[in-house]
């Protein structure tokens, strides 16, 4: 979508050097380009979804410097000098992250549309608080909406992953 627009001669180009899923990327963006569009269309990582487009649903959640942001409402140039994690970057050497594994084992998704955002948000939660209470988990995950599961199995998945991750650590 971004590339389809005609470039004016005075178009402002901002160099953005950032780490994406562990690898250094150097791109150029115009100020108005949104992070979600750059990640999906320019970089081909379509795990993050445009859903509500008003930063309430969490389907576009990405981690920037380990913290969750709404990529739909983040200007792409804001990741310059930062590290970005998408769902595609979670598995290491083909081995699923404990959160991904837990969502599979515990039925934490149905249609899967909210799932990349859910898992990334859960990762940020567990990085901040490796042993959350259910109340703490619900508070943190309050901004990630699921229309399918009724949340019970999402909570179970995250708690199960948290337990595994605490044992490993």
């Amino acid at each position: 979508m971004a590339r389809a627009m005609t470039r004016h001669s005075e178009a402002q180009s901002i160099p953005v050097s950032f780490t994406l899923n562990g690898r250094l990327h150097e791109i150029e963006v115009e100020p108005h380009e949104l992070l979600l569009d750059v990640v999906r269309d320019q970089l081909g990582l379509t795990g993050a979804k445009r859903s509500c487009d008003v930063e309430v649903c969490g389907a576009c959640t990405l981690l920037v410097d380990g913290r969750p942001v709404s990529a739909c409402t983040t200007l792409a140039f804001e990741v310059r000098g930062r590290s970005v994690l998408t769902i595609e970057g979670l598995a290491e050497d083909g081995k699923l992250h404990p959160l991904q594994q837990a969502f599979i084992e515990h039925g934490g998704f149905q249609c899967g549309f909210c799932t990349p955002g859910m898992i990334l948000a859960a990762k940020a939660l567990l990085d901040e608080n490796p042993n959350p209470s259910e109340a703490e988990l619900k508070h943190f995950m309050h901004g990630n909406i699921c229309r399918c599961t009724g949340y019970k199995k999402i909570i179970e998945s995250i708690m199960a992953a948290a337990k595994k991750m605490r044992v490993k650590a």
Binding site: M1, H32, E55, V56, R67, S70, T73, A124, H142
Partner: protein
Amino acid sequence: MLRRFRLEEPQSVAEVSELLGRFGESAKVYAGGTELLLAMKEGLVQYERLVNVKNVTGLNEITVTDGSVTIGALCTHHQLETSAALTEKLPALKKLEQNVANVRVRQVGTIGGNLCFAEPHADPGTLLIALGAKLITEKSSSKREIAAEDFFVDAYETALEADEVLTKIQVPVPSANGRSAYLKFGYLERPSVGVAIAFNLNGGVTGVKVAVGCAGPAPRRVAAAEALIEGKSKDEAERNLAQAGAVAGRAAQAISDLHGSQEYKEHIVGVLLKRAFQRALS
């Protein structure tokens, strides 16, 4: 997709002010963008220039001096909800910040941006009024203080002049017998009603401040509700809460919309005022 705009990245408050003065309504301050970018996406506003203020140093600190906590306008909600200073000195504000929007908005949204955008369905302004906060603003050559209760003029309209920049929010630290609470109600994404109360409890209830937000176009201090509680014993104050709540409800300038009818919102104001008083006491 956003329309094209030019990005300005000043390094000082004076530079920000100069840019705003030079470009007027075609430029807008851009911090976290959690409100601004939404309005731009929906085509409600359009700017030729966004002035990114995040490179200006010194505006994202929280400092405690003798009598007050000073909060930089660029502090994010996340910074505020995790601040040890706020936890210790202003726990009601910490709790409010913990419950703003969602974790992603809290991560990048700033308190300054929240106050200056003046979206009616927002939380911090209401409590800051009840806490007697002062908003410190700067232009190229001058500074001034605006009391929180005078800051919100109307929906999306503040007392800021065109080239004026909010730099800090100064909140007096409550005394040892100070009590305060903020409660909100809503089932949509943004709060529908917010009520804040603050007072000193020393024998009786004194120094009462009551503020109502979200239901009307701007958060408002409600002196008429305060008068019904001010100087009363705790028990008498409690007996007057229903009437104070009704007064505060009417003062909210509630309108009927998707958040509820005018009568419903006025009713909720009354409920929240009672509960906020109890919460403040506990």
